[in-house]
Amino acid sequence: MAAVRGWARPPPMRPARLVSSPQFRRGWWTWVAMRAGLAAGWLSRRLGLGAGVIIRGRVTLALCPSALSRLAAGRRVVLVSGTNGKTTTSHLLAAALRTAGPVAHNATGANMGDGAVAALAADPDAPVAVLEVDELHLAAVATAVDPAVVVLLNLSRDQLDRGSEVRAVAAALAGALSAHPDTVTVANADDPMVVWAATQSPRASTVWVSTGGRWNGDATSCPRCGTTLHGNGDRWRCRCGLARPAPHWVASEAAAVRDRHVIPVGLRLPGQFNLGNAVTAMAAAELMGVDPRRAAAAMSLLPDVAGRYAVVTYRERELRLLLAKNPAGWAEMLGVLDEARPLLVVVNAREADGRDTSWLWDVPFEEIAGRPVVAAGEHCADVGVRLTYAGVEHATVADPLAALALLPTGVVDVVANYTAFHQLRRRLTAAGGESTR
């Protein structure tokens, strides 16, 4: 802790607000709405309709539209947003902040207003909340909860059929940050889109983190002026003046570098991108008053994140379950796949995945050639066509459990996109798959 105090501090933040009372001045109607929501959630679970998180939040919001701001009042809230890594980073951050006390967290990844309401209602007395928020909903949620810290991870193309160009999303985030000048932003210095969004507000105070991301397919044209951006990763600048800010934190070789101090970070989660997520969480944790070394120790214990990176045994196969839902996510995931290991790719194209499967053509699938591969999921034919043109020999079977039978026994990598991942987890659980970790 002494070492931390001596460091060059990031931009100052306002002192922590005092929690006034356990009820946080919410009012009796909010309490009624919250109870009704909990009852609806319980009913939904009993009827087998799902985990009941979303319905819980929706019922509460329907009865009391201001429930989110009322439930957040008096708490210090961190919002975590960006295209990839929201769920992982919010889990890491929640683990770090729990070393100091109870934390409300939308752990299931229900990341719109209803999910936030459900999470806050589930932990009404926690003085701190970590909320993963969808990029398109950040402005609305920030208005309701007046966050102490906003974490901006990265912005890349994802679900373009939602009618959102990446640059438009960045502009909306910039607007949200400008509306909260007292909020401190923890932002990725390597991502030009994020830097552009975070530097719009003249009064913004930002803690910059270099996460060392691999992919910049959307960033090659400057978000400010539209010309080609030169350089990538930790060295980029545009002739219009937009340039990479000097980072306060750097994710580097199993460690976080804070100025010249090196803090080892040993994670059970694989990959450079998860190290980047962890270092970003450390920066946010420090702003919330948790010592980075203590944060790192707590984060190192996390075995998986809502099932991602979990290992499940099913019919003599040890499945490593991975989630990748867009080209940037895949680019990161390719770095963690073992090149000798059989691979199952499962892709759906439902509402939550984005209906347009074009993104498959921005994944460098050429890299996976040479191992046994099976394409599965509701859009297995799209994957199969893509794999053929990438020169990857494969089989195609829609049902992912049937597809597994075509792969050799032993360890198998499974990469699925959003709804495909959750479907597969449910089916594995139902079929008696055992979580080994």
């Binding site: 090659t220 053509w361 199969g384 053929t388």
Partner: protein
Amino acid sequence: MSAAPELVIGVLLPDLLGTYSDAGNAVVLAQRARWRGIDAGILCVTADTSPPAGCDLYLLGGGEDAAQLFAIEWLARHRTLRRALSERASTFAVCAGLQILGTTLTDVQGRCHGGLGLLDLTTAPRRRRAVGEVITRCVLPGVGLLTGFENHRGATTLGIGVRPLGQVLSGVGNGVPPASRRPAGRTWPVGPSSGGGIEGAVTDRVVATYLHGPVLARNPALADYLLSRVTGQGFPDPDPPEVPDLPGLRRGYLSPTPPRRARFRSHLKPW
């Protein structure tokens, strides 16, 4: 070193017009050419290079609004490339690429920008974005049904110098009916779904469409049409055994769901 490939496919500005993975069209073309014994190569032409004018086929993809205006300025600035596009080479343009090649382009703020003028068409913003699956019947010989995913805010009016690429069976497409079906005295586009049932634009040298997918991955016959136009060879079999998943993919996208079947019939009248 090997000699230059017989067929060179130039992907123009993938750094600016790469939002919807349309560069995959080049991969499809090159691979299909190679399967037919034609040595094909792909040249990616980014904004910071000076573009070669000797490619046989140029591809333009979809992109965001700011990038689109930059692309018009860039193409206009490189005169030898522009001359190649208008006089010699073939061009396949998708979405923003289609709009860029037109004569004018009005943005969401209502400002009108000049296009490259290679296609006799103008584009104005629609009130609502057109997003979703599209099926069209292609007018090009032997191509048949086209499937793709549209995601645009453009309402494109074709002039007399271009033909539509296809008749819309489901989806929006250009969003403006052909001149013959437009009531006199009304300005187009009107309303959120001005309908009209045509998609894309075709001339001797240019094939342009709103469809992503990438569209040539989903529609091998259109890929082969472009290849035969550039090489002068015919390719009778649109489903070569090399892509075993293609029939399944096309079945999935082309099999009409019940409501779509109803819309099919209503569109079958000639236009």
